[in-house]
């Protein structure tokens, strides 16, 4: 079980690095998906090794996938909007709300 949790922790760290350093909004969204997946691996791991009298963890992971899909849809729609207004999708462009 340690190996699965360690894999999830590494995946989460890599995703965090991507979110912190990417300059492209789509890159940030992709790193975010990595972090969602790390969380899902944890859910399923605990479901298999610790709480096995049911499939609560897997159902919850399913909800996480659905929420991540909804997040991706809205996020990429925002990407399209940003691209229309600024002709580029660097995060530096979107500092106009920073007042």
């Amino acid at each position: 079980m340690f190996y699965y949790l360690a894999l999830a922790a590494l995946l989460f760290s890599i995703g965090l690095y991507g979110v912190l350093t990417r300059r492209n909004i789509i890159g940030i969204l992709m790193s975010l998906e990595l972090m969602f997946n790390a969380a899902n691996i944890n859910f399923v791991t605990f479901n298999k090794f610790v709480i096995t009298d049911g499939m609560t963890g897997q159902v919850f992971a399913l909800f996480v996938i659905a929420v991540a899909a909804a997040e991706a849809v809205v996020g990429l729609a925002i990407v399209l909007l940003v691209y229309r207004n600024w002709q580029g999708i660097k995060t530096d462009y979107i500092n106009v709300m920073k007042w």
């Binding site: 399913l62 996938i65 899909a69 909804a70 991706a72 849809v73 399209l80």
Partner: protein
Amino acid sequence: MKGFYVAPYLSILIFIVIGIGLVLFTFFLARLIRPSHPYPAKTINYECAELPIGDSWIQFNPRFYIFALIFVIFDVEAVFLFPWAVAFGQLGLYALIEMVIFILILFYGLYYAWKQGVLKWV
């Protein structure tokens, strides 16, 4: 973890290995028997004997994009339909009502998209 649990997925593994291997083998074979005379005209995009105008990396129409967004939503709905369909035989009317509510809520989204005219190909 029992070993026999993995056995059904062995065929998937074999498929993946053969698929990757076939592609690599074909590339290797092609590299082995083809002549090698690189010159710059070979690297431009293939355009039926015409010189290509612009880059091959074109931006494509944003109209596809909205369809892709709606597709993702209904893909998630389809994934939720699968376990419902499997469990339906043991649950009966109650599950049917739940799923009808679920689909009606999402159907309103489709209706909204229709009314806003984003499904029209202008």
